[in-house]
Symmetry: C2
Subunit: 214 residues, 2 copies
DNA sequence: ACCTGAACACCGTTCAAGT
DNA sequence: ACCTGAACACCGTTCAAGT
């Protein structure tokens, strides 16, 4: 066929197909050849649009990060605990929709524009709320720890549903653990919400101490 | 050579070499062929000791989890916040020593004995401290979220040291972000400690409310 | 500019053959 | 039981060739 008059591929189409493949079959299922087949082209065609597979993955990651809502940081006057809460929920929702790519994305913003915009918005809002810069950095980091950790893998689904696994002699307290996977959504959501509120309460304590000193 | 009189390999030797390779060059560098070369045997030899590469990875993961200190949960009478704090630090230290394998390990305990022992110890101690079982499950989950998230990747190192990345027009608050990577250890440690104490404070608030009701 | 097939140096895994 | 080489169906990436 050689060069068609209208291109068969675009970066957008490739990224969308790659994300679908990763969501459906995992990160390991994403091979350049498999992806090309999915797009009805030959393997090397992709290299007209991305320099390497890693470059392609970077674009996929940034498209996911682009789904995170940052509007609460721009609305002036939103108290920081409220902004942080809303943002953390949106952040988690965006990642949890694509858990298989979280390990890649958790490596940090790198040079990805959406990831840098996110870091900028969080840090800026905290500083403008009165947090010292060093503390604001730490809060940005610990929130990312918690959100990426919670989106990386289901806690509940990590426990096999097979009751035979939990030998009472070895694991005296795990007698009910085989039920966890069945309540996967509720367990993970409950743990995330509990952790988020605990974190915000703990941070509010520190914020109050900050005010006392000044 | 065929079968030697004393085996060239053992599961322990294979696991140790695999972990070294993962630590030094990343998860992608672990191929069965490369690992075999490292051990001075041919590729297929490994299949006498592990059914698949995934089985081998499972053993590597459990060896890392085995390094986590659980003694604080056995020492009767340790208040739960103190036990949780000490355990979280040991947990993070064990994972942070091998960040490249954290994505695999964060999938949950599966059938790995050390991971199940860890879950059993945490849950058991919380329940015996008076936490309702549902809450104890959530706390085990949220602590894993936070610890795996913090060990998965350095927050500081995720920001390129190249100042050119942080165009003031696009990212008005990231003017100093290029310095983060240089303070990597301090930033990540500070964020972990701040988050850990905030979480424990927030949980203590909930524990107090629990006591009021009974 | 954007696609193709052929080619190179890799993979994980199976299997028959050796001791 | 535990190792080997050969083989199969895959990889990511390069490159010359086509329009």
């Amino acid at each position: 066929m050689a060069r068609p008059r209208t291109p068969l591929l675009s970066r957008e189409r490739i990224v969308a197909a790659a994300l679908r493949l990763i969501d459906d079959e995992g990160l390991d299922a994403l091979s350049t050849r498999r992806l090309a087949t999915e797009l009805s082209v030959s393997g090397p065609s992709l290299y007209n649009h991305f320099a390497t597979k890693d470059d392609l993955l970077d674009a996929v990651v940034d498209s996911v990060i682009g789904e995170v809502d940052l509007s609460m940081f721009k609305a002036a006057g939103t108290p920081w605990p409220e902004a942080l809460r809303d943002w953390a929920r949106s952040y988690r929702a965006a990642l949890a929709a694509h858990p298989n790519i979280v390990p890649v994305l958790a490596q940090g913003p790198g040079r990805r524009p959406n990831a840098l915009r996110l870091a900028d918005a969080v840090f800026g809002h905290l500083v403008e709320s009165g947090w010292p810069r060093g503390q604001a950095t730490r809060i940005g980091a610990l929130m990312r720890y918690f959100v990426t950790g919670s989106a990386l893998a289901s806690f509940a689904a990590g426990f096999p549903a097979d009751a035979e696994v939990y030998d009472a002699a070895d694991y005296p307290h795990l007698g009910e653990a085989h039920r966890l996977a069945g309540h996967r959504g509720a367990v993970d959501e409950g743990a995330f919400e509990t952790g988020l509120e605990a974190l915000l309460d703990g941070l509010a304590l520190r914020y109050a101490r900050l005010a006392e000193r000044s």
